[in-house]
């Protein structure tokens, strides 16, 4: 439909405002992480850095526990990602292609599980983990992260699976391929963007997780970034330079991942949702 110039102008303004709302806070934080401390806390804030220093990053990486938190986060997130992807592909395929009693009910139950308040299972999960001797063990975090990522992952998976023509699978079946072979050789390559979006979702979900990490992990040696950074906030007399550097380093991996597969991720997000 054609738009008049007034509508175009309104649209342009709206878009700029939207971009500012989303991006400006990040710009401020990232650009400020390389400012000298006196510029950071100056009462005349600057949009573009007037000074340049890497001291905050040096302090963060050299004199704090941050590098260890970073490593822990990477390990936990990658493990959660791998398990979530494997589970989501297998069960997504089962939900979509196999018929078994109670399938629809289970599918809905899984949707519900996604929106399930984590806080209400926090106390009993803590009890379970302590009974299993997994308190202060990163593996406990992986288990919890997978639990909360899998429902949404299956949801996303389903839309991608729906796009795979069933005829190809039937042809392969006629040629004598087993279910697993079909999944591995035919379906998987076709749903690669779906697998990518599930992977990024699972990674980001555990990269961000705070609640369970704060309770299940106790020693500094096993803390992940969200809990570790929160600890640094309390520990030092609010050192904004350090905080901003921490925020910047924590955001960068997510942005990097997103730059590669963000498009598929958003497609997966919406494709799964509107059903």
């Amino acid at each position: 439909m054609r738009r008049g110039p007034a509508v175009n102008l309104a649209l342009a303004i709206g878009l700029v405002v939207l971009a500012l709302i989303v991006l400006l806070p990040f710009w401020w934080v990232m650009s400020s992480s390389i400012k000298a401390t006196n510029e950071i806390v100056s009462s005349q804030p600057t949009m573009v850095p007037h000074s340049f220093t890497l001291e905050h990053f040096q302090k963060l990486l050299g004199a704090s526990d941050f590098p260890r938190f970073l490593l822990n986060s990477v390990v936990v997130s990658l493990a959660s990602m791998a398990i979530t992807v494997a589970l989501a592909v297998l069960s997504g395929y089962a939900f979509f292609r196999l018929r078994f009693p109670g399938r629809d009910f289970l599918y809905r139950a899984i949707l519900l599980a996604y929106a399930f308040p984590g806080i209400v299972v926090l106390v009993p999960l803590y009890g379970m983990m302590s009974a299993a001797g997994l308190i202060d063990n990163p593996f406990a975090l992986v288990i919890v992260n997978v639990t909360f990522a899998v429902p949404f992952a299956i949801w996303m998976m389903r839309a991608f699976l729906a796009a795979v023509p069933i005829e190809i699978e039937e042809a392969a079946r006629l040629d004598g391929a087993s279910r697993l072979t079909i999944l591995r050789r035919i379906v998987l390559p076709l749903i690669a963007p779906g697998v990518a979006s599930v992977a990024i979702f699972a990674f980001v979900a555990s990269w961000t997780e705070y609640l369970f990490a704060s309770v299940l992990i106790q020693s500094d040696a096993h803390k992940t970034i969200p809990v570790g950074l929160a600890g640094i906030i309390g520990q030092y007399q609010v050192d904004w330079g350090l905080m901003l550097a921490g925020a910047t380093i924590t955001t960068l991996p997510v942005i990097a991942l997103f730059a590669f597969i963000g498009r598929y991720f958003v497609a997966g997000l919406t494709a799964g949702a509107i059903k």
Binding site: M1, R3, L11, L15, A19, V22, L23, P25, F26, W28, V29, S32, I40, V41, S43, Q44, P45, L87, S91, I110, L112, A113, F116, P117, I119, V120, V121, L122, V123, P124, L125, Y126, G127, S130, I143, V144, T147, V150, I154, W207, T208, Y210, V215, I225, A230, W240, M243, A247, T250, T251, V254, I255, F258, G262, F265, V266, L269, T270, A273, I274
Partner: protein, 277 residues
């Protein structure tokens, strides 16, 4: 997979119910069966009802702010113009960065030393001198709701956008030929056809916002003077700071029942017709 979810979600729920009937204080210590005593003490405590009330305010505030922001963004992003694909992807940036980053970003932006917001508001003439956003109870809650909405509205917007794109363009063209104004088209075509999407988002959004813990905990810790202590905060504090696990479990059970009840009620009574069929 199902076994996994069964063990990690269903079993805790059941054991939570069991725990709530005992009097365990610290994890690992043995409890004695006390029947409904925990429920009685929870239901008769003012703190519980106040937290529940704050949770209602929190969920409602978030729902309104996010819906308005998201609807406006979705309508903008639906239009075709250069760069819109990039914008549709990157808008969810606020949703994918860790909460701790959001917390650092806003604590700093809102701080009275070096923060950008105070000078900006003074410039605009909204306030005279720098204000502490988390120091009074009303402004703390409002600020938290706005920050959380800032974080979540892109997610809602992307969902709404997908809903918008499923509305056939011919409908708008036909209406335009009949002389319907932009607003009339929005009200008579967009809104009714978007209803199923809006409904699903409302139900899921309510559950998700109720659940929000970290952003509140890390920004205000539930203060000032409990003004932002929503139910999740209260449960967390009762269990891990006050060491009254069974009481926290009782609260968890009550919250679960309440949310489930609300969700079922919503689906039964409010679900748009098409979905029922």
């Amino acid at each position: 997979m199902l076994i996994w979810l069964g063990v990690t979600l269903l079993y805790p729920l059941v054991s939570s119910a069991a725990l709530s009937l005992e009097n365990v204080r610290i994890i690992g210590s043995a409890g004695r069966f006390v029947g409904l005593a925990n429920y009685l003490s929870v239901l008769s405590s003012a703190a519980f009802w106040l937290a529940l009330e704050r949770s209602v305010v929190w969920v409602a505030g978030n729902a309104v702010a996010q819906t308005v922001l998201a609807m406006a963004s979705a309508l903008i992003l639906e239009q075709a113009f250069p760069g819109v694909r990039v914008a549709r992807t990157w808008i969810v940036l606020t949703w994918i960065v860790p909460t701790i980053v959001i917390v650092i970003v806003w604590r700093w932006l809102l701080s009275t030393s070096g923060g950008m917001i105070n000078p900006f508001l003074i410039e605009l003439g909204v306030i005279r001198r720098p204000m502490g956003f988390f120091s009074s109870s009303v402004s703390a809650m409002t600020t938290l709701i706005l920050i959380n909405s800032w974080r979540w509205f892109p997610f809602v917007a992307v969902m709404l956008l997908a809903g918008l794109q499923r509305i056939p363009g011919e409908l708008y063209e036909a209406a335009a030929i009949d002389g319907a104004s932009r607003f009339a088209r929005f009200r008579r075509i967009t809104l009714p056809l978007l209803q199923p999407t809006l409904f699903v988002l409302l139900v899921i959004g309510t559950l998700l916002s109720f659940n929000v813990f970290d952003i509140v905990w890390l920004l205000t810790g539930g203060g000032p003077a409990d003004a932002t202590t929503t139910l999740p905060i209260l449960i967390y504090r009762t269990a891990f700071k006050g060491y009254r696990l069974s009481e926290a479990a009782a609260m968890s059970v009550i919250a679960t029942l309440l949310l489930m009840g609300l969700a079922i009620l919503a689906v039964r009574t409010l679900a748009p017709r098409e979905e029922v069929r």
